[in-house]
């Protein structure tokens, strides 16, 4: 079990090779087979992982390019493990959601490998390699298999994220020249006293911030997201929102917050304001959307805004926060990462199902579905309620903890952010009214209800939502020690 | 290091380079290009990297320049650059030059003379290539092979079309 992480990274790549070599109609099956394999590995990783031990575990370290401080260093802590598990969950879900050919499957598998790499790499060069490696398949997937406006959306997505990445790379070069290492752990320890000085520190901060803020995305760098998510095929949207957006949040936790604590403290209120803007404006914009997919995309921005609020509250507040509040906010953020991953992916899946049946996905193209497809409506409402933070479902736990932590630290910002929670409820209430109720629309009268294959996808995910909502301890166990450790780091 | 030689080589190289970048006729430009690389090779000799200088001459003057000439012949139709030059590009190039010059001149650490060194023999280069740089060497070999095959595939006539 020594090389389990490397195996996780390599297996999807091998899968991509296999898929490219195999006949097109087998490709999805092969991809799913490889995903079963990675899922098993992910679970093994979970079992092997010692949740009570602090620090990185299962590390593998090999010399790579010693001249520039690059090494092959992978390892997991609670947060990485959580994200690896999320990837292992969402990607197969996405494969099941999408009829897909050879190229599609191969690119998705490459992206999966890049995701595993991003979440486990502990050296910047390696991390950046994976980070960028995820970008290319995503771009191609949108550009080739996307819907209307795919060229523009793909280009916009690529240019935004790539510009961000370049800025980040430059910042990291600066850091490397100042400190001579690319190792995350070492840098995080050094970060307490500041990695860079003077103007350079601000430049470094700005570069990394820009790269990650685009990826998350944080207001006002989010405008690529609705276009990209709207046009991407269902499976890709699911992975984009479920996992890829988490790369940004992960980057914030792993890089920006520990490396630039002083800068963050100084412009803390502005960062909090950006997070609040993300929450409020995105939810309001979601309300104004007529396209279901675009609506869900905006809500995705909104939900990641909560993550950002929690993170900035922990690190950006001028006062030293109480331990309980920091831990609440961090735990909430991690929980929200996981929850949003499955819930948003599920929502995209449902929108995909509706689109498959109707051919359109405008909110006005449906009506009275409850009479025709009660099962679809029922399960879909579970995902919607989970997304709007109904207690008893997974969304609530993370949001409650984030709000608990950040309210105690930055009360006024959090109080404004509550508007986001409220507007989300309006958005979903409106969507449910438009889709499910009223008289059955003519165009929907021939809809089939859920097929067996669709139920097979939906039921486990929904059960997971309930399980996390009711007894979330098993998720908390993954990252509790990491939370404690990070609290010490940020305090 | 001989400063007179330096000045001569510098003037020659830069003039040839400028000519190769700005001449209208492609063939002339290609010849100037070869001359430029001879000049650069002379710089390498001056700097004590004779082996690199030789490689430079073999590869560029012997191979690349010839290739360019062949390409010009193969694409006979426009052997002259007819498009009007893009002045925006020129402005950028001059601005970049100014920036670089400023950066070089303001850095006092660069104002140093060359130290004495022991001659870099081909034997030593060979030794290093086979020990420390053996992996990159293999990679370059692979790359060159790939480039060769790739170039062949690119220029092969598509019979179906023809």
């Amino acid at each position: 079990m020594a090389h389990i992480i490397t195996a996780l990274i390599l297996i999807p790549l091998a899968g991509a090779l296999f898929v490219s070599a195999a006949r097109p109609n087998y490709s999805r099956g092969i991809a799913l087979g490889f995903n079963a394999f990675t899922s098993i590995l992910g679970l093994t990783l979970w079992r092997t992982f010692d949740a009570t031990a602090a620090g990185l575990q299962l590390t593998e370290r090999h010399a790579w390019i010693p001249a520039i401080g690059a090494e092959y260093l992978v390892g997991v802590d609670g947060l990485s493990l959580l994200l690896v598990l999320l990837t292992s969950l969402v990607v197969p879900f996405a494969f099941l959601a999408q009829r897909s050919g050879r190229g599609f499957c191969a690119l998705m598998l490459i992206m999966q490998s890049a995701l595993y790499g991003t979440f486990t790499a502990q050296n910047f060069v390696l991390w950046f390699l994976f980070y960028e490696m995820s970008l290319v398949p995503a771009f191609l997937l949108i550009k080739i298999w996307g819907g209307e406006n795919r060229d523009r959306a793909a280009t916009k997505f690529f240019v935004y994220t790539f510009l961000g990445s370049v800025a980040m790379l430059l910042s990291f070069l600066g850091i490397y020249f100042a400190k001579g290492t690319f190792d995350f752990g070492t840098l995080a320890v050094l970060g307490k006293s500041g990695l860079l000085t003077g103007k350079l520190a601000w430049l470094g901060f700005a570069g990394i911030f820009l790269g990650l803020a685009v990826k998350v995305p944080l207001f006002p760098f989010h405008t690529w997201l609705p276009d990209a998510y709207e046009t991407a095929p269902t499976g890709v949207s699911m992975v984009l929102t479920g996992v890829l957006s988490k790369m940004g949040v992960y980057g914030f936790v792993r890089l920006l917050l520990p490396f630039f604590p002083n800068q963050i403290k100084i412009i803390g209120p502005w960062l909090l304001a950006l997070a609040v803007c993300s929450i409020v404006f995105a939810s309001l914009a979601a309300w104004a959307q007529r396209d279901l997919k675009r609506m869900v995309a905006y809500l995705s921005i909104n939900h990641l805004g909560y993550c950002m609020l929690g993170l900035f509250a922990v690190t950006a507040s001028p006062v030293v926060a109480a331990k309980i509040d920091m831990q609440a906010a961090l735990s909430g953020v991690f929980m929200q990462i996981f929850n949003h991953g499955i819930t948003a992916a599920a929502l995209f899946y449902y929108v995909g199902l509706l689109e498959q049946r109707r051919g359109l996905r405008g909110i006005d193209n449906f009506g009275g579905l409850m009479q025709r497809t009660p099962l679809l409506c029922g399960w879909m409402s579970v995902a919607m309620f989970s997304s709007l933070g109904l207690p008893g479902l997974n969304g609530f736990i993370g949001e409650f903890l984030i709000f608990k932590g950040s309210f105690a630290i930055a009360a006024s910002f959090t109080a404004v952010a509550v508007i986001g929670l409220f507007v989300t409820a309006i958005v979903f209430a409106r969507a449910m009214q438009a889709l499910f109720s009223g008289s059955l629309a003519e165009s929907c009268s021939a809809f089939p209800d859920l097929f067996r294959s669709e139920k097979l996808v939906i039921v486990p995910v929904t059960l997971l939502m309930f399980a996390i909502g009711i007894a979330p301890q098993f998720i908390f166990n993954i990252f509790n020690t990491t939370v404690v450790q990070m609290t010490r780091l940020f305090a | 290091m001989n400063s007179a030689a330096f000045v001569v080589i510098a003037i020659l190289t830069l003039a040839a380079a400028f000519a190769s970048a700005t001449l209208q006729k492609l063939m002339h430009a290609a010849l100037m290009f070869a001359l430029t690389f001879v000049g650069i090779a002379a710089f390498f000799f001056l700097l004590g990297a004779e082996f690199v200088g030789l490689v430079q001459v073999f590869v560029y003057v012997g191979a690349v320049a010839v290739l360019i000439v062949f390409t010009i012949l193969l694409t006979r139709r426009d052997v002259q650059d007819t498009g009007k030059p893009n002045w925006g590009g020129a402005i950028i190039a001059i601005a970049v030059f100014g920036g670089l010059l400023w950066a070089i001149l303001k850095t006092p650490a660069l104002f140093i003379a060359a130290p004495q060194i022991e001659a870099l023999t081909v034997k030593r280069i060979g030794g290093v290539l086979m020990t420390d740089y053996v992996w990159p060497l293999q990679c370059v070999g692979l790359l060159l092979t790939a480039a060769l095959i790739g170039a062949l595939i690119l220029v092969m006539e598509d019979r179906d079309e023809g």
Partner: protein, 657 residues
């Protein structure tokens, strides 16, 4: 024994919830199985509630808690738990009993509905969640159940989902209550931040116990007010009351159970539960937060009873009456009469459920007719309904001696009279008594007296499955008065933890005569005005403007539509517009590289200026378009960008050194 019951208190909500899940998995056609399961669940909950109730009888001021860790985050634990005390126990029994009656009634009322099993799924789910609210010993658990109750309410209001008005009403209810809930949520956060715990009682360290309250200090007022926001939303208090009358779009048993007897009373229960937060630091029983509660309660009570005078929908009248009664309860809590308020809540639960079920019976008999102007003379046709409805009406109007509502209302008036801050609420509540009697008399006359009108021509009495619950509830409304009288204020003593003594002398008090006179006056006035009613409303003749004002619910819905709703929609559209046009452009402006690049491109006009202007004028989506234009596919364009980037780097370098 005691421990065992308290530890397993969760079974009370769990049984109906489990029943709900099982019914959900049943096929739509297995109607009887669904109904039987729901009723078994409810009977079990009732039995367990009575068991728990009997436990609380052992000692006065009984309180037992069971706390446990829900989850651990970081090194912290979040603990929740349940509590059994007189407040919870009394509510448990009331909810379970009223619920059971309504479940049985629904079998008859919903007999023809095609989604019969789904209805019982929702009802059982509601019942479980509501019982959960009552036993929660943690504000968080209470909030969880509170939201689930809201969900059940949403589902049940919109139960007839093919009716657009029902769906709209469900949405309105969900969103309006959510406004209050956001305040509630903030209150929870604040409370948690200050006191470090959300447990109500925890052997001295809970947030309602001394240590927690001291830790809260001055912020207790704000926390209390924020929590009160939740109560305002859920209990239909002004200004968030607008959803409750619309909620009558749901089936009548739902209106009876959720929007009269139980859920809407949860707000009152909540205030009673966290009363120590409200009364912390009280001087003579007056705190700023309690004063707010009183003011809101008074406004709500009077406004709703006035509006009730101008309504013609049988259920809407009752809905406004509920709003007004809830206001009354809030007043009672605000002036310090917690026990009185809770007693009224319990009594109200029974008689209001009775009235709604009676209304349901009437509607059922009149073929789904809701307009009271089309009824009339039903007294003969539906005698059982008439009698039970009359009992409910008497109880609601506050006729003393035999009807539970009379005594509890009496007690509330008593409490308001002794409020130190002001006597205004007392007088206003006295006016409210008259109004209540007036609108109930009006309704009675319209429905049961006079000549038969369109809808009552061939009305019929409802089947026993519907009338039996009416009789049970009616008898409850009467029997309950035995433990409410000041002569033997058993319930009062039970709730406050004092023992009750039988003392016939205090039965007759001077104020009793005042309210008796007022009620009698109200009823008499009602008879005088509406005696000869036939179609048009006498008030409409006398005061057309005033009547229109009341009939249109004081135009509050319209006001909200034109202001709050309109502004929020505008904000949404504005956000969308900003997103498409401004933020996109802002990012582009920030990435000034692009601008320099545009200037240096030879076809600058085309790409730099035109694109910019196009953007501003036609409002296409910013950067993507420009980026796309730059993305010309021409190598040199790209290389030029690289050149500019090098320049930028150089400038950066110059700036840094």
């Amino acid at each position: 024994m005691t421990r065992g019951i308290v530890t397993n208190l969760w079974l009370i909500p769990a049984v109906p919830l489990a029943a709900s899940l099982i019914i959900l998995s049943l096929a739509n056609s297995r109607r009887s199985a669904g109904a039987v399961l729901a009723i078994i669940g409810q009977v079990a909950a009732l039995a367990l509630s009575i068991l728990a109730f009997s436990l609380t009888l052992q000692t006065p001021g009984f309180r037992a808690i069971h706390n446990f860790t829900w989850f651990t985050f970081g090194e912290q634990t979040l603990r929740i738990g349940w509590v059994l005390d007189p407040l919870a126990a009394a509510m448990l029994v009331m909810i379970a009993l009223v619920g059971l009656c309504i479940f049985i009634f629904s079998i008859g009322y919903m007999a023809d509905d095609k989604n019969f099993t789904r209805f019982f799924t929702y009802l059982s789910f509601f019942s479980g969640a509501m019982l959960g609210v009552v036993i929660a010993n943690s504000l968080l658990l209470l909030f969880v159940c509170w939201e689930l109750v809201g969900l059940a309410s949403y589902l049940l209001i919109g139960f007839w989902i093919e009716k657009p008005s029902a769906a709209a009403a469900a949405k309105k209810a969900f969103i309006t209550t959510r406004i209050g809930d956001m305040g509630f949520f903030l209150g929870i956060l604040w409370l948690y931040g200050r006191s470090g715990t959300l447990l109500f009682y925890n052997d001295g360290s809970g947030c309602l116990e001394n240590a927690g309250l001291v830790a809260l200090g001055a912020s207790a007022t704000f926390v209390a007010l924020l929590i009160f926001c939740g109560a305002v939303g859920k209990s239909g208090q002004f200004p968030l009351h607008v959803w409750l009358p619309d909620a009558m779009e749901g089936p009548t048993p739902v209106s009876a159970l959720i929007h009269a007897a139980t859920m809407v009373a949860a707000g009152v229960f909540l205030v009673a539960r966290v009363y120590p937060l409200f009364s912390f630091g009280a001087i003579n029983g007056v705190t700023p937060s309690l004063t707010v509660v009183v003011s809101i309660g008074v406004i709500t009570a009077l406004m709703a009873s006035l509006i009730a005078l101008g309504q013609f929908d049988i259920k809407r009248i009752l809905a406004y009456s509920t709003v007004s009664q809830l206001g009354l309860m809030m007043v009672s809590l605000g002036v310090g009469g917690v026990a009185a308020g809770m007693m009224h809540l319990i009594a109200h639960g029974f008689f209001k459920a009775l009235l709604f079920l009676g209304a349901g019976s009437v509607i059922h008999g009149c073929h789904q007719e809701h307009d009271i102007r089309k009824m009339g003379g039903l007294r003969r046709l539906m005698p059982i309904t008439f009698l039970t409805y009359a009992i409910g009406m008497m109880a609601l109007s506050g006729v003393p001696f035999f009807f539970s509502g009379g005594w509890t209302k009496e007690e509330i008036l008593h409490a308001t009279a002794h409020w130190h801050a002001s006597h205004l609420p007392h007088y206003l509540m006295l006016a409210g008594v008259v109004l209540t009697a007036l609108y109930m008399t009006r309704q009675m006359i319209y429905i049961f007296f006079g000549n038969r009108r369109a809808a009552s021509e061939d009305a019929h009495e409802s089947p026993p499955v519907m009338t039996m619950p009416l009789i049970v509830l009616a008898s409850c409304s009467i029997v309950l008065s035995a433990i409410l009288t000041p002569a033997w204020p058993w319930l009062h003593g039970y709730l406050t933890g004092e023992s009750a003594h039988f003392d016939i002398a205090v039965l007759i008090q001077p104020t009793l005569f005042v309210s008796l006179a007022l009620v009698a006056g109200g009823i008499a006035l009602g008879f005088a005005i509406y005696r000869r009613v036939a179609g048009a409303d006498p008030l409409e003749h006398a005061q057309p403007a005033l009547f229109r004002f009341l009939e249109n619910k004081m135009w509050l819905d319209e006001l909200y539509d034109r202001t709050v709703v309109a502004y929020s929609r505008m904000a949404a559209r504005l956000s969308d517009w900003m997103d498409r046009n401004v933020w996109d452009g802002l990012v582009r402006a920030v990435s000034g590289i692009g601008q320099i690049f545009g200037i240096l491109t030879d076809n600058f006009d085309e790409r730099g200026i035109n694109a910019g202007i196009d953007e501003a004028t036609t409002g296409t989506r910013g950067i993507g378009r420009v980026m796309s234009a730059w993305h010309s596919g021409q190598i040199q364009t790209y290389l030029r960008a690289v050149g500019v980037s090098v320049l930028v780097l150089l400038v950066l370098y110059a700036w840094l050194t």
